[in-house]
Symmetry: C2
Subunit: 400 residues, 2 copies
């Protein structure tokens, strides 16, 4: 519970750099106005960010009579962060510059039979080799990896990955050894990395109380307060997918019944479509695309499925709104991308029947419409946050 | 989202003073160890707290060879805070010294017919007159008032008080005028004041992620992160009582169905006892005491009621655990006091069937067993927090 000037400094640094990435080129004066910090505070932070190689001066602008102001930008030619999205069927690895632009990527397909840590790490290593070859001697500042399941971020351990039946796998150590990495590796799960991605490069930027609802094969939420990811006591915060909306409801894979995930997770959506007489065939993503197309064509089973799922989603989201009272709710995840045109308007319409008036009015609703891989972006942003933490150990501490 | 050194300073000040109140007499060195702050930081804060009249040196202790250390204590002879608990049937007003010890109190009964702001304020004024007379010229540092319903804390307005059908009553202005107060008045609802009370004088002291479940006529939760009350975007956070655990469930007074409050609020508990064949007679509190006695005597309807209510409570609490992942859950409110011996063990037993393993293991469970009025205490603590805010405007800013 200790609060230090280092925490404050880091939080302000995140805010300044997020605005800088969004609005570059920009000036210390504009950054001060946008972050609500003093010009002196921003100037100190910017000096340190320049010293750290994260920010550069790119020119000067006329300030209307006064002294021309220096223009700042992220140091796009500086180091890169690696973000890795490890899913059941693929590994996507992306390299980002300090403006969080993708500078390179590699993808590996994984077979369902490849479930050992060695096999998964093998695919990451193969993707990394490709990208490292092309990056040449450009410095890697850090590596962020998103792994499904429960992750112990302090120890870099995969506590439990249900798809692969992993228990307490020392993933960070294994990965660091295999890749012969001499930079920090940050591990977390997709709920967390997507939320960090939203803070750095999505609608969550500058939002004080953020909730991200992530709809995919699994379902969960990411919470962030004051521009920082909220992890809870044991990094389990956001298990919204396993909150109950009806104890008499269907069985959930977590062992309980009537969890939100048992209604709005991809398998549950496709099961409902099937029960209403639709035809969910092919892979999960193919079937979800077919459902979206059937809804578009007005197929009654598809329309009914979307309505039913929207109703469950509204009940679950209202619970979160009433308890957390966020400023912004972002819908994200591959199911949102695939079925959002149908689902999101139905969901919004039904929310008022479940949420209290005050939190409903307070919460803006957004759907992530970025084409980017927010899991990999957020993993890379975790590495960037780790790198920025060095602000507190290098350079100009005397100025503070 | 701006984070300033003032925020940090205030948060650290709260931590230091909370330990000081709990452990007095104590030294700067022990406070530093307990708060995990540096001795220099603690010393600066203590100097300012002394200057503000909140803390005094009360002696010296031998430090085992070294220089004797000054012993510190809250300035119990200094100013007082007033905490007011406004409920449907009574007004309880308590005066607290800076050690948060009650130094005086007054109580007024209210008739069900007394529903106008004027009548309620009249009772507060009558209680205040009694206490002010006895306090003599002892300085009042601030007044905190807990009002049922929705409160706009910034403007001091009761946005909505359902019992009295109040809408947008400028309560703080009316109270300040009527009482001719020249000290700050802080307004909030019982969910918030009880939680602040737990932070200052309960099990929540020093806890990073705290959830307080408040069981009474209404039901709700208080959340606190980093030692500070979490209000949400519009001070509506914690409306846990109106999260749904079964959409097909009973009607709730909020308009929705199947809210937790519709299962575990006092009227719902007594209704269930009735339905199971019990005899809920007399006032709500009398009937609840009768239910507790019947359970103690093994009356089957009472046993079944407690089991059913515990099951609903466990489902609702598990949702909060899974989403928020707190370090500590405190059960509070008058129903917890009246029925806790029966309800709490049944509740704890059932929680594992609903909560995920990680958040369940992380959360300690406590029942508030203090005999104190936590609503009034928390309201007074809000006034104390307001007074401490002056740290940032008076005295020794140059030392920071
Ligand atoms: Zn579940
Ligand atoms: Zn309700």
């Amino acid at each position: 519970m200790k609060s230090t000037s280092r925490d404050i400094r880091l939080r302000n640094c995140f805010a300044v750099l997020r605005h800088l990435i969004a609005d570059a080129p920009t000036s210390r004066q504009i950054l001060a106005r946008e972050t609500d910090l003093s010009v002196a505070t921003v100037s100190n932070l910017v000096t340190d960010l320049i010293e750290l190689g994260v920010v550069v001066e790119v020119g000067r602008e006329d300030s209307g009579g006064g002294r021309p102001r220096a223009l700042l930008a992220p140091h796009a030619g500086g180091g890169v962060m690696i973000g890795v999205d490890v899913a059941e069927t693929y590994v996507q690895l992306e390299a980002y510059d300090l403006a969080l632009t993708v500078v390179d990527r590699a993808e590996e397909r994984m077979e369902a039979s490849e479930t050992s840590p060695d096999q998964v790490i093998g695919h990451i290593a193969a993707a990394m080799d490709q990208v490292r070859g092309r990056l040449g001697d450009r410095a890697i500042l850090g590596v962020g990896v998103s792994l499904p399941g429960q992750v112990d971020v302090t120890w870099g351990v995969s506590g439990f990955a249900p798809n692969w039946d992993w228990h307490d796998v020392p993933f960070r150590r294994l990965l660091t050894e295999r890749l012969r990495l001499d930079v920090p590796v940050y591990l977390d799960n997709p709920l967390k990395t997507i939320t960090v991605g939203e803070l750095w490069f999505g609608d969550g930027r500058g939002v004080d109380r953020l909730a991200v609802l992530i709809l995919g094969t699994g379902v969960g939420a990411g919470l962030a307060f004051g521009g920082q990811l909220y992890r809870g006591a044991t990094n389990s915060a956001g298990e919204w997918g396993h909150t109950t909306i009806d104890p008499a409801g269907p069985q959930c894979r977590c062992g309980a019944t009537g969890c939100i995930e048992a209604y709005v997770g991809a398998p549950a959506i496709l099961r409902q479509w099937d029960e209403f007489g639709g035809r969910a065939a092919g892979s999960q993503t193919e079937a979800m695309a077919a459902l979206a197309a059937a809804w578009e064509a007005g197929e009654p089973a598809a329309v009914r499925t979307v309505e039913t799922v929207a109703e469950s989603l509204a009940a679950g989201a209202a619970n979160l709104l009433n308890l957390v009272n966020p400023d912004l709710v972002v819908l994200d995840g591959w199911v949102t991308a695939a079925l959002g045109d149908a689902l999101v308007p139905e969901f919004e319409r039904r929310l008022a029947a479940h949420a209290l008036e005050a939190p409903l009015k307070a919460a803006r609703l957004k759907r992530n419409t970025q084409e980017r891989n927010m899991v990999a972006l957020g993993a890379a942003a975790l590495a960037l946050e780790g790198h920025l933490n060095r602000l507190n150990t290098v350079g100009s501490r005397s100025r503070r």
